[in-house]
């Protein structure tokens, strides 16, 4: 089932990138997509971790929320950079991630890194080491709003 969906995605990707729609090129694209999907199935990367298509439903609401967070904290970091005295207070902290699956933890760690002002420095099981530019950033991460959001995204 996942192999079929992977083949469909690959074929759509081919159509999007090629831009030429002659019968021969479309046939070549279909053959390539099916071959790649079969190879991926044989190598064993089509399970939930390699092709997480089931997360797509949660992503529809999660990505706009993440974009909003990025805009907010990006503006905060911009104010700090342009401030003449550079008021930074770098903080390192360890937080526990509550998502259970590997894609969930990766999404959480990447969301933390993507938000300006906080980066994930290390992942150890579900313990994430986070470096924050200001103390308030570390407080926000520890408060766990994003954590709850990612867990909901994973369960959707």
């Amino acid at each position: 089932m996942r192999t079929v969906s992977l083949a469909c995605f690959l074929f759509a990707f081919w159509l999007a990138l090629s831009g030429h729609y002659t019968p021969m090129l479309i046939t070549i694209g279909a053959v390539c997509a099916i071959l790649c999907a079969l190879v991926a199935a044989r190598v064993g990367v089509t399970e939930t971790e390699g092709h997480p298509v089931h997360l797509l439903r949660g992503a529809i609401t999660y990505w706009p929320w993440l974009a909003c967070e990025i805009a907010k904290s990006g503006w905060a970091v911009t104010k700090i950079i342009l401030h003449p005295r550079l008021p930074i207070s770098p903080t390192m902290t360890v937080v526990t991630a509550s998502p259970r699956t590997a894609p969930g933890i990766v999404t959480y760690a990447n969301s933390i890194t993507l938000t300006p002002g906080t980066i994930t420095v290390g992942v150890n099981g579900n313990q994430l080491t986070v470096h924050a530019l200001v103390r308030e950033g570390a407080d926000d991460i520890e408060a766990g709003g994003m954590d709850a959001r990612v867990t909901r995204f994973e369960d959707a």
Partner: protein, 120 residues
């Protein structure tokens, strides 16, 4: 209608340019590696994101807009990977971060020392 779209896209492009330059200034001003990564992430998310959104509005609906969306997705999936790898490698090389406060050895985390991010 097209005037509104034009104005909106110009606004997005100018804002993106502004954030890119701010990120560049931060890259020069920040005191150590870890804080510089924060400045670079402003360029990679807000700067690139707004510039590409503005260009999508300029391009209109079509293959060009789709390719721009792919570039945007590329930025949003790969820049955190690079930032994470960079910070981890720097910590592994024992470059000490400038810290105002260190909460690593506290609470439920693994006690001190063993948090340089190596997988067990």
């Amino acid at each position: 209608m097209s005037l509104v779209v034009d104005l909106l896209s110009w606004l997005l492009i100018v804002l993106g340019s502004f954030f890119a330059i701010v990120g560049g200034i931060g890259l020069v001003r920040m005191p150590d590696v870890y804080t510089r990564i924060h400045a670079a992430s402003v360029i990679d998310t807000l700067g690139a994101g707004l510039l590409i959104l503005g260009m999508i509005l300029q391009a209109g609906f079509g293959l060009v807009a789709l390719k721009l969306t792919f570039i945007l997705a590329l930025f949003f999936f790969f820049t955190p990977v690079v930032a994470h790898a960079l910070a981890q490698a720097a910590l592994h090389e024992e470059i000490e971060p400038l810290l105002a406060e260190d909460r690593r050895g506290r609470g439920d985390g693994p006690a001190g020392g063993g948090t340089d991010g190596r997988q067990p």
